[in-house]
Structures are given as C-alpha cells and as structure tokens.
Symmetry: D2
Subunit: 422 residues, 4 copies
C-alpha cells in the first residue's frame, strides 16, 4: 500500500491552516480540486453538481460573501469560485478501474466557527500551522480531507478493480450537507459505502470497525411574537414573548423521556426582548431533539412542538416553528464491519480493534448510509483512533498525525478487500 | 410674556430632525449651547461640569464614538466635542436677575433608539422634519428642549427677580442622567424646582399642575454561568444556564405582589447559549422592578434577587447580579402645585387644569426633586397636554405644536409667580 | 336609643360558643329564629324562602348531614330543621312600622372551619365561651348576628316610620350566600341597604362611614386529566397531570398585572397523583382571582383560564375548569355615607369617624349592594372598629365587646336618620 | 416432581380473594403460616423475626389497625396477630434435608390499594374469587405466594439434599420489605437465591431464565413550609408553599438526563394549601428517581434534592426532604441463569425460554440478591410468563392459572439441579 506519511502530514497541516465553516468551504474545496487534478481522477463533480434539493442551515448572504471574498483574496481561481458561489461547496471524485463493485468513501471538510488555542503547548501553535482564519478544525475534518485524498492516491496505485467514489462533503457540523449530497443520487450505485471519523475518545492505534449508536436529530427554531407595551405604565396591555419562551424552555427539558431508548433535548440558543422597560414583543429559541432511533426522535419532536405551541398560547403569543436541519439514525452493516475488523488488525500501527462502539451523537453521514442501504448497498462508519489533547470542538483539540497513515491504510485495505471478495 | 410660537416651532423641528439616544446627545448639546450663547446667559455649565459620580447605563465605547463622529461630521465645533467626549453630555444655564429665590427648571434632551414612521400621515414625514439619524424623538424631549430655551428667553425678557437655573439633562430614557446631575450639587440651592413633560395622554389645552404616582424603579442585569457539554453525547456533564434563566424569568413574573401599592416586574431582554448542540454555558437577563413607593420597589428587588439566585442554584449554575440604574419615587409639593394650578387657568390656550394625576411610570427627575426637597426646597412635576397621534415611544408619536407656547407660558408664569410670592 | 350592653354581650357569647361553617348554620339559624319570635317581628322568612338560584360552594352531603345531626342533638326543633335541611340556612325578619322608606340591614352569620385558641390569654377561653364545635367565629360574625338582633330591638322600640328588613345571611366566608339572597328579590324594594363589619384593623371607638375598595372575586376549580403509566417502566406512555398542574400554578402567579388597579391570584389548594410510581393521571387546583373592579377581575379570570387550558395542552392532558363562586365589586353611596358619618360622631363610645377606607378584600355583600343599587336604591358598608388581639381568621381573633353597643347604635341611629330625612 | 394443579389453583384463588396492601398482610401471613404448619417445615420465622432495621413506607397507625381489625374479624388467631401487630408481616420457612447447599427462594405477598374490575369478562369476577377487601392482587403476588408454598411441597417430596429457605416477603409494592428482610441476615448463608415474577408481558409457556435491567430506585418526600396570609388582603405577607412546589415539580422533570444510561423521575403525589383564599402555607410532594445503575440513581437523587431546596429558597420557603424507600440495581448471575435456562426447556407447558430480558422497573428483591452476592452466593431473578388480559397494576390484571404449575416446576427443578451440581 502506497502511503507517504510526510505527504499526509503536509496536506493535513495545510488544511488545518485555513479552516472554513459550513457552506463556506470555498478555499478548502478549491484546494481539494487542485489536488484531485494533480492526482488525476476520471470524473470530478463540484458544488451544485453534488447538491440536490434544499440546503439547511445556510448562513446569511453577507457571511457567505465575506468568506468567498477571503478565498478570492487568497488567490483562488475566479472560475471555480463562480461555481461555488452561494455556498455550493464540496466535491466528488471518481476513479474507474475496471470490472468490480462501486465503493464509496465519504469524508467531511468543514471547520467550526470558533477560535483555536494560542497556547504554546498546542502543537499547531508551536509548529506554526495554527488556523489563520477565524474558524478552527476542532473536530478533525482536516484529517478527514487528508484521508480522502490519501485513499484516492493509494487506490489509484493499487490493483483495485472496480469504481471508487470519494465525496468531500460540506457542512457536516450544521447537519446540512449529508441530505443534499444523498439526494444528488451520485452514490445510489454504491455497493459499499465507508465513512470515517478520527478520535471520538479512541487513542492512536485503536480502530472501531463499525460505529453504531447514531442519534437521530432534529433541529428547530421557534419565534414567539407577542405585543409590546411599556413595562411600567401598561404591563396589562402587553403579550409577553419572553414569558412564553421561558415556559417553553423549562418544559422542553421536562418532556417525559421514553422507555424505548435514549433521547435528548436542548434549547441551545435563546434571545428575546428589546429593552428593559418594554414588555418583550419577540423571542427566539433554537434547539434540537435527538433519539436513539428515528421514531424516538420523532416522539421528542412532536412533544417539543406541543410545548412550544402551548407556551405561546399560555401567554397569548403566537409562535412559528421551523425545521432547520436533522439527520436520521443508521446502523453499520455487518458485511463491511467484518471486513474492516479483519483488515485493521494487520495494518501497521494498529494495536487494538473494537468491533463496534456507540457514537452517542448525531452525524449526517447517516443520510448517505441510509440512501445506499435503501438502494441495496451496504454501509459502515469506521472510527480511526487518535490521541487528542483537548476534547472535540474545544480550542485545544488536535490530531496525532500518526493516525493519518493508519486511517488511509485501514480504509484503502478495506476497499481492496471488499472489491476482492465481491 | 414674550413667547414666539413660530420660533418655538422652528427650534423643536430642528431638534426633532437630529435625535440622539442617551449619553450620545453630542449634536443636541452643541445646538443648545449655541442657542444659549446667542440668547446670552450669566453662567453656562457643560458636560462633566454637571455630572458627578457614576453614570449608569453608559453605552459601549464604540457606540459613543460613532455618534461623536457623526456630530463632528455634522459640523459641531471640535473644542466643544472634546468636552463632551466619553458621553459627558447636557448643559446647565444660569440667569442671575437680582434678589429673590433660586428657581430651577429641568428638561431632558435624549431621543430613543428606534426608527420613526415613514408614513405619509405622520406630520414630521409629511412636513419634512422626520429624524435624520437612526434614533427618534418618540417621547417629546424635542419639545422639552424647546421649553427650556423658550423659558430662558421669556424670563430674561421679564421683570423676574431672582436666579433661574435651567438644566438640559441627558440620558433620561435609560434612567441614567438624573442621579449624576443631582450629585453635581448645582441645584442644591434651589428654593423651587420645576420639571415638565408633554403629552402623557393629556390633550392639548390640558395642564396637570403637579404629577405624582412616580414608580420607583430598579434596573438589574444578571449573568448565569454554567458548564458547556455536548447536548447529544454528554448532557449529564453540563450545567445549563438557559434552564436557570428560564426558571428565573418565569418566577420573576410570579413574585407575589404586595398589597401596599402598585408594583411591576419585567425581564425585558434575555439571551443565552452558543449553539444548538451545546448545553448552554452562559445566559443573560436584563430587567427591572418598580414600586409605587421606594419601599415597594425594594420589596420587589429583594424578591427578584432571591429568584435569580435560587434559579441559578436549582440548575447548578452561578449568577452575578448587577444594578444598572434606578430612580426613587417622589411627590410634587403642594406649595408649587397651588401656584401652577392657579397660573395655568389664565394661560392662553389652556382649557382644562387638573390638580394632579398619576404618572404610572418612572422618571429620573425624581432624583433632582428629592435632592432639592432634601435641601429644604420644593419641587413639582408639571404635565403639559398635547394631542399625540401615536403613544409615547411608538413610531407615530408626535407633538401638537400648539402645546409649545402653552408649555413655555405655564412654566414661565409659574416661575414669575413663585418669585413674586416668595 | 334602647341598647342593653349586657344583653348584647350575652347574645354574642352564646353565638360564639356554637359556630357553624358556611351552609351549615343550622343551630345558629334556629337560635336567631327563636330570638326573632321572642322579639316579635311582622314577617319572618327562613331557609329556602330567602335563597333563589344556585348556591355555590355547598359542602358534601355527608358534611351537611353531620352538622344537621349535631344541631338536632343540641335540641333544635325538628320542624325547623326540616326547613333548613340541605343547607338552606339563614333568615330574614321584617318590621313594618308605617309610612316611610324601606331600609335593609344585612349581617352574616357563618363561622370558619378552624380551631379556636386554647390559650389562657384568649378571652373566650378564659371566660368560658370558647367554641364548642370544631369551627370558630374568627371573623366576628357572632358580633354581626348580635348587631342584627340588637338593631331590630332598638328600631322596634323607636319612633321609626317605614319598613325595616334585616337579613341574617349564610355562607359569606365561601362567597356563597350573597348571590342567592340577592336573587330572592326580597331586598329589591329597599330604598337603603346597610351592611356592617367589625374590626378590619380599626380599633374600638372608630367608625368607617362607608367602606370601599371591595375586590371583585372569582373562585374556580380545575381538574387536569392525563393518562397513568408505570413511572419506571413506561414513562413515555403517560400524560402527566401533575406536570400540567405545576405549569399552571407557576404561570397563574405570573399573569401580567394590569395597570388599571389592584389584582390578586391564588392557587390555594392543589392535589394530584395516586402513587409514587405512577405517572399522575389526575390533578386538581382550586384557586381565585380578584380585581379592584369587576373588569379587572374578569381580566384575571380570562388570563387564568388561558393558562389552565394551555398548561393542560402543553402536557397532553385535558382540563375541566369550573366556577365555584365569586362576587362583584361595589361602591358605598355618598348619600348614606354622609348620614353615617354625621350620626356616628354623636354615638357614645365613638372617638374617631373615618369617611372611607379600602376593604382590600372581597365580600358577597356586594351582590346585595349592587342589587339594591340596580333597583334604584342606595347602599353602604359600615365599619365598626373593635380591638382584636389576633388578626381576622386566626385562632386568637376576638371582639372587644364594647363595640357591640356602638355597632347597634351607629346602625340604628343611621336607619332612623335615613327614614327621617327621606 | 409432585405438582398438583388443582391445589395450586385453589390456593391462588383463596389468596386472590383477600389481598392486603404493603405492611398490612395480616390475614395473608396467617394463612401462609397455617399452610406451612400443615405441610410441616423445620423452622418457621414470622414477622419481626425476619425484619431488621428501619421499615420504610409504613402506613399510618390507624390504617394498620383497620386491616388488623379486619383480619381479626375474619377469624385470624389472636396470638399470631399479636406477633404481626404494627405491620410486622411476612414469614420465612426452612426445610433441612441433609448435606448440600443452602438455596433461598423469595416470593412477595402484598396486594395493591386499588379496586378490582367488576366486569363480567374479568375471570375472578366471573368465577367468584374477586377481591373481597378494598385492595387487589393486580401484580400477581397471589401467584407468587402459591409458587412459594408449591415449591416447599415439591421439594419436601423430592430427593433434594441441602437446605431450602423460602421467604414470603411483605411490602414489595412500596419498595419496603426487601431491605429489612436482607438486614435480618437470615439469607446470609444462601449459596443460591432465586426470586420469581409472573407475567411482565411474557405469555404463558415462556420463561426468562435471568432477568436483568433492574432500575435502582429512590423514593423521597418533601414538605415545603411557608407562611399563610390572606390572598386578597395581604398576599405580600405570605410565603407561598404551592409556588415552591410547582417550581420544584416542573424542574424535577427537567433534570438533565445522563448519557450513561436510563434514568427516570416522577413527582407522583402532590398536595398543598388549605383554602382558596389563603396563601398556601404547606405543600407536599412524594416522588421517586430511578437509574439503570445505582450511580445513575444517585445522580438523579442529588439533582432532585438540589431542585427541591432551590425551589423552596426561590419562594422564601423551607423544605424538609426525607427518604421513604429505595432499592439498588442488581444483576442475575450466569451460574444460575445457565441452570434455569437448561432446566426450563424440559418443563411441561414451556414452549419458549429466553436467556434474559430487561425488567425496566424496580424491585426490592435486589436488596436480597445483593446481600447474598455480597456474602459470596449467587442470585437470579426468574420470569414465569403468564397471559394477562390487563397490564400489571390495572383493574383487569389476571393470571393464567396454567402458569402456576409451570412456575412451581421451573423453580423446583432448578433448585434440585443447583443442589445436584453443587
């Protein structure tokens, strides 16, 4: 297997230096396209080619424009930027290498809208590849991009027989990209689909063959509208949106939890009112519910909508409830798990292979996994351990670069085996 | 009495065109100073001369700077702006006209941070003097400034014997200016203090000799701090600031109301949390309590602090509670009310004189009234009716300009009578 | 004026010894009837004769029966008890004394369902007339009955010319008797109606000519119905009535208070659920709202019903809301207040006469006052001060018996004057 | 194996006819003792002999007395009743049959305080053995008593070599009996302990060899104490216990749920306040928390106590929080599960054997299981399927009597095998 650790490290550090948040991966996509063209692939889809239907959680136009301008200022090709404009980011590369199954690999590419640690102990800071944008690769998607590129190079250099499709998916962090990529239909012909994630509290050298325990998730936002009034002179004339919101938030967390499995709820972002002395006219909550199964998520969603509507009614307000994203649950198929479990043990640097573990969170890779499974294929979500000093999404998250060649090898060898045994 | 309706209308429209919010009355103060210099007064205090002690509810530095820059761009004199920089706005003019009592008049000068109606039916729009800043004189302080200037001109032209002090007070709308002006001590020698307000749902031609029913008010802000955690993977590790806030908001409104008089409470502005999928780490509420007496306000304040602290404790969070402003209650003295009641009946255009009415709101003029009363003087808050199409603080509020000469005459005649009968 | 202090004291102590709660004043009514027959009146109405329409807040049948049995055991005449059975208590006596106006006097006769102090300092205990039932005259209705009987004797012995109607009204404490007595129509021909109350924090020797500030009141009960489920095994299958109740109680107290006057709300009695390990299927709240005017009470009532219904909906429960009582607001007429104010000053033992004061509570005398006023008559609610060691409704409440002859005299003299000046 | 279906049915119906709730199993214990004496056992412990330490969830004295009186009226022997007086119910029988291990069997004997269906379709009603008390065997403990007696008879007639201890445990439904029976030490020498339950949604003919998934449980009661005041006249003087309770109930259900496993919370019984027009002085809640592990239960318990205390503080009330019961989690040992799984397949009438299933509820058998395990023994909780028309704890619950001989056989055969293989 042709895996060059130095090249992987160099690629990963480059992506680490210019993280871009969801739907704003302009420079990232351009750099991926540049590498793919250098490597040479048989087909290359970009931006709107890989995104069908509605894109959830899209940022404001001005915000998109700012990141687009920054990419342009960084020297990204104008023609390519035109294709990505409006947040149509991401790419999909195809290698056609003769008879055999179609194998997909999905990696995600977005960073998080948070600042990276400036601490001297933080390796990217110490070694000069700390983020130069005001985002951060705090969840390892820089490693995922590297996996994607490394696997293409490795497979191209191998005796693989079949078709390989690697999708560089945008907007995972807002649970936004998985659905439109699935709806593009580009992966419908996959016999197998792999997705991968580094870390997840597994150390370098540990591999999880097939992760399960994806929580189905539903993101909502609700806007309560009441009637303003002077809080000192005419409180009885108002209809208080903050009171409605507070009743909703308290009672959202008090939704009866279902016996059939794990559920969660969070009223993550709230704001309301305009002035201390005005009965608040408008209030807003953005939240989420999750469930161990899609049904449990739907139970929580229905209960949450009931709470939101009754809270508005209780305080004589109106409420608009909108869906802003979501993802179903999914299960890794044993057929692929068996292969990964068997292959991983033989990869250099791997000293522990777990058959399965629970994610305990949500991932929009599940849209892609379900799509492939609905079309008769198999899917599997692989965990590649990495020592990470800070937790995922924190300022000191970092990837142990020894896990880069491990990830590329585990995925490439699995793809070879799947094709060989097909 | 020398009262020129056309000049008053012209002044008022000019101030109406460039409203500035609390502590940002740079251009307004400059224009007042310019007029006072034109009229000719014996003493003129500006900015920090009239403000002692802490100024509450001061805006952010950048916000102050923006309004200062706008004033400079509008041609305000640099030397004067230097004296006002940092939000030291407002002015106090003195006329010394021989033996006799010292009579004070307080008018407030700030606008509100809201947009003015663009409706063709709205007189300022129709007649071309709609606000040109992004604030609005939606509470008639443009008329109050005009009262102050008109009274100085009228008294200067009269046979008044004594000293007149007119304070153009900043930052009434945030209950911020009254206290530092009181603490400057410049009004401590007043035998009489008058304050005035237009409108208050009284029609043009109606005068309220001495308004009472000021609600004492206390503004607070509270910041809840918890612990973030991933809402899907580790909700049990978080300490949820939004839950604490919601419990607080609901229970603030549920504070038992006291039988001794009117009380109000409002959680006017709330915000909390950083992301849909993060257990909220920080939440903020800015609110107020009021009471018909200072004691009732204090009862509500103590109860509110109890609720805020217990709500934090309930959800394992911490809370910091800060005071951001406030004003006591106050009572108009009969000695002045008698004079205003008697004088007003004889003023042209006045067809109804009420001895008293309840404000039912708060006003930081009460700091000045209490200060004068504590020093042995008398104080009175006079209502000058005006037909106003929209309510106070709304986009269609406007002043019937017929009330401008009425206000100037009622106040000037009362000042003359107070001096004459002293 | 014929007023025998010793007789009044003796009567009052007798009534004090056998207090009976609302709708259960069997022995009390019988004793009143006995006295009226002894005195000799022209007409005597009892029980269902004076009660028309629905009687609110009637106790359980078994409870009524227990008190009826006790009255029978105490020797009350069987025929009379038959007329009172089912809670048809109270009486109305008429004196017809020639030409002149019809003057009504209303006194209330029920005790409270609470234990009386056994403290040696408590006069009824010390002097041997402590309650022998398990109720207590803790609000002075024993004095009111005595006023009623005393006034009849005094008027009968006077040169009064007109008709006197004295109603001994049951069930004031549950706001139950006033409405059906009003609807009987027996007071419709009154030109004047007086009602009276002892104490109310006024000392012996003080008289309030016309009390105002009656809070209109509305009593409700709400029953929430959900679905039980095992709290450990199947919490998601339940619909939790206790959660609905808790949301309702919290938000009832948080109803925005109206600027037009005083309002109150109380969720006085709650209960819910059947077992620790069962999701509660049923919960109950009994509460009240009050307002300084009938309109304010209705504002609170409408808001309360909205809260109750939304709280049920929020937790997927049903709710039944029923009215269990209430009383409107009312105002004492100046025409009578003038007379009482003038007369009281001349009564022996009176050293202070207030024209008016606010009750700050509710009273179903307002039904009778409104009925008389709607029919063109005048009404007035008189306060007779009495030193009372404990507060109203507490275990150590007691009446200073010096206030008994004062009350009889003030009321009788006022009746004489009203007739004389008619 | 000596199992007489008719005798088992007859015994079960007899116990079904006189169900007694927790700690009031006077007649039940007496009848058990009578049967044990008839069968002939080597040792017999009754009442206080088998109960050490504090007994939780004991009913009121008067309630105990009523059930004791009823038992006496039903002809139960006075001497025995004297030993049971005060709620010291239950019994433990010992068979000593030579060398070999000590095997324990625990069955519970209490009914539930609820009415049984009078529906003609309900078999106990149709066949004349419906409950004659105002309790009901709605959870199959009548079958459990029958299992206990049947197993003793079967083992006595067998070639079992060892010691058998069968404990007829009181007060399972209130999670009250398990702890004091464990603390008696009478089962400390058990090498093996079996417990059994019928039904649990498994049909007749199905056996679960070793049930797991016991939720640790903690029962609490909290009493809030405030200050009463007249709700109309002096609401500001009160401290409202119902408000504290409502804040507590709402926020108890909103405790953040832990990611480590299943948790539940229930505020099952609430009551508060004394009268509609009194600010509530006292309020009470009885509730429970559960957790999939003892640690999770403790997390919920600590959070619940925090909520209760903060809710009191928020409304200026005090709160007393008491523990009224609880049980730990427990796990069935594979060593016994293997035996039961193997034996059950050969029992007549058994057509399905599950190795394990989750209870998803709580059981104080876990105290006994933990005690035996802590002393080096093994424990196992066996499920004996039975078709039950209504759910557990409902009015139409019933046991398919075909499951009686199955239960006795599965348990007896397992005991024989455990001894044989020891």
């Amino acid at each position: 297997m042709s895996v060059d650790r130095d090249r992987l490290v160099s690629l990963r550090r480059e992506f680490h230096r210019f993280p871009e948040p969801a739907w704003r991966e302009f420079r990232t996509t351009a750099r991926i396209v540049e590498e793919l063209e250098r490597i040479g692939v048989d087909d290359l889809y970009v931006g709107s080619d890989i995104l069908a239907g509605e894109r959830m959680s899209l940022p404001e136009e001005a915000d998109l424009q700012r990141w687009l301008d920054d990419a342009r200022a960084a020297g990204v090709d104008d023609d390519l930027l035109d294709r990505l404009a409006g947040g149509y980011t991401g790419a999909l590369a195809v290698l056609e290498m003769g008879e055999g199954p179609t194998v997909g690999l999905r990696v995600d590419i977005d960073g998080l809208p948070r600042a990276e640690s400036e601490d001297a102990d933080h390796t990217p800071t110490a070694e000069g590849f700390r983020a130069e944008t005001d985002a951060m690769h705090a969840c390892g998607h820089d490693a995922h991009v590297t996996f994607g590129l490394g696997v293409i190079e490795a497979i191209k250099a191998s005796d693989f027989s079949g078709t390989l499709k690697v999708v560089f998916q945008p907007a995972e962090e807002v649970v936004g990209g998985g659905k439109p990529v699935a709806e593009s239909g580009l992966l419908d012909d996959c016999d197998y689909l792999l997705a991968a994630h580094v870390g997840l509290d597994h150390p370098t050298g540990e591999v999880v063959a097939g992760i399960n325990g994806f929580l189905a998730v539903h993101h909502f936002e609700a806007t309560f509208t009441g009637e303003p009034a002077h809080a000192g002179a005419n409180p009885g004339d108002g209809r208080n949106a903050n009171q409605a919101l507070a009743a909703a938030v308290t009672n959202l967390y008090a939704i009866p939890r279902h016996q059939d499995g794990r559920t969660t709820v969070n009223a993550g972002v709230i704001r309301g009112g305009s002035a201390t002395n005005i009965i608040p006219e408008e209030a807003y909550v953005e939240g989420e519910v999750r469930g161990e199964t899609t049904e449990l998520m739907e139970y929580m969603r229905d209960r949450a909508e009931r709470v939101l509507e009754a809270a508005a009614d209780m305080h004589a307000c109106d409420v608009d409830v909108d869906t802003v994203g979501g993802a179903p649950s999914a299960v890794s198929d044993d057929a692929i798990v068996d292969v990964v479990e068997s292959v991983a043990g033989g990869v250099e640097g791997v000293d522990s292979v777990l058959r399965t573990d629970a994610l305990g969170g949500s991932e929009d890779a599940t849209y892609l996994m379900q799509r492939v499974q609905d079309n008769g294929g198999k899917a599997c979500y692989v965990g590649i351990g990495t020592d990470h000093p800070g937790g995922h999404h924190t300022a000191t998250f970092d990837v142990d670069e020894d896990s880069l060649p491990i990830g590329v090898s585990v995925l490439s060898e699995s793809i070879l085996r799947l094709a060989a045994e097909h």
